[in-house]
Amino acid sequence: MEAPPGPGPHAAASASAAAPLRAPEVARLREEQEKVVTSCQEKIQHWRKVDSDYDALQERLGTLPDKLSYNIMVPFGPFAFMPGKLVHTNEVTVLLGDNWFAKCSAKQAAGLVEHRKEHVRKTIDDLKKVMKNFESRVEFTEDLQKMSDAAGDIVDIREEIKSDFEFKAKHRIAHKPHSKPKTSDVFEADFANDVNSKDSLADKDLWARLEELERQEELLGELDSKPDTVIANGEDTTSSEEEREDQNIGVHVAPQVTDSVTPSSCRVAVTRSGLLSGQTRGQLTCSMNGSDSYHSDEEDDDDGGDGDDGNENVRDAEGAGDNSVPTIYFSHTVEPKRVRINTGKNTTLKFSEKKEEAKRKRKSSGGGGHWAQELPTIRTPADVYRVFVDVVNGEYVPRKSILKSRSREDSVCSDTSESSTADFDDRRGLPRSVSCDEATCSDTSESILEEEQQESHQRKLPPVTGTPEAFSGTVIEKELLSPSFPPHPAMAHPVLSTIPERKEVLSGVAGGSEDAAKRVSKFKAARLQQKN
């Protein structure tokens, strides 16, 4: 009864109430609570009537046996009666439920009635309790409403939890060390520093600088040897991107480049970076060096022209003079292999040793061309298989399929767990980058290593500016990275990665013919990646 008047004013109040407590909802809550209270009251009423009925019945039963017979009006349907006599006054049938009856005396029936009355009373008590409970609740909600109406005293405090971006990043970083050798850790530290520096530099400035550089390069002759260095930078960035660290590397390189406006200065900067990496002495650096040399070789191959030996020599000389041009080159492919090697068998160890050796050689010789000996020339799809060679017990074993990773074939998969991400990327990259044709040519792949070495010896100084061959490892790079396909740079990296471990082989600077196009494309690619 009280409830009905309550809701009206309450609703009004709720409408005007402060937003924080969502007045309409509170009002509704109160409504529901009041509903419960009223329904409880109704039920109690009903049960009281039942109780009273039982009372009357009990009384009647108590007095019924007092007389032998009663004159009554016998109901004949709801509205008709006929006079009659109630004779068996001490004989009652009790409804037990479900239309079952029990015959008993009036006294027993009275007992049953008593029992039922108890039940009724209990029910009434329960209902009363519920009603009380809800009445108090209604009071509480009323108070709540009043408080909310009073002022903005009550404030909803919420803390938004941001998505786990940071966590992800951390996770990645954490994962890296596991997958890579101890030496890599040092490397990482350097990278981190670089990143910081990068952060300090505005990205925009960086990019602007890069564009400027691009323009300058264009202005300068495309055939200049300098473009090579530029390329090297671009490669560095790409390779770095492939590994997770790459970004760091790229960043590292980039600032230096920005510092030096002229290409020559760029080269110097590059050399510097190479030296730094050399100091770290990590396998990574080694691999990088190797890859650099390899890459240059490859480029030479791509250039394909036979008569460019002189050119190459010149370039090598330049590299030697600069001392670091080769170091700058990073081969994307190298790193994945390296990872595998680290985790894998003893063969891997040998590999790393080789790399180090190559590096030492290079350092001592100042980037001489002799490293190029081991480099494989990719002129036909079959050559691609030479690139993918497993080293078993120090011997080169051709891979049956370049689409499969060595580790899987050999079931030496310890690495998969650790460096799985990098490896996977590489594996995936291979198929993507390498055309199907190469895969088909598996038969040729068997002779890979020896052939490769021989070849490298023979063509120690591959033509730099020669006409492009039908197939070359770098061709893919060109296509993907070339200015005409700016959006694809991401694809390019896998391609680069496919070119494998050969890095030990080579030396310094690669052919300049492709450079102009490559240069621009690499910068763009790097920029795109960074943006991504």
């Binding site: 009864m1 009273s52 009925d53 019945l57 004159n71 009554i72 009006m73 109901p75 009666f81």
Partner: protein, 96 residues
Amino acid sequence: MPFCETRPENGAELVPTDNSAPHKVDLSSKIKEQKVVVDELSNLKKNRKVYRQQQNSNIFFLADRTEMLSESKNLLDELKKEYQEIENLEKTKIKK
């Protein structure tokens, strides 16, 4: 045989409830009913039979006319008393 039926208004006692206003209305209607009953009973001829309905059922028990009359009178008095009490309460409340 004409007969008069009276229903015991025991229910009145059962509702000593919280809400005075509705109870009061209820009570007044009951009082009116009871007045009618008393009048009817008192105006019955002596040879009339009076039956009383068993609560919550359709059976009518033959009852004594005079007894019923006195009973209903008593009931009426009680109702009136109750009604008075409620009115007094309300008055006092208003005064306060």
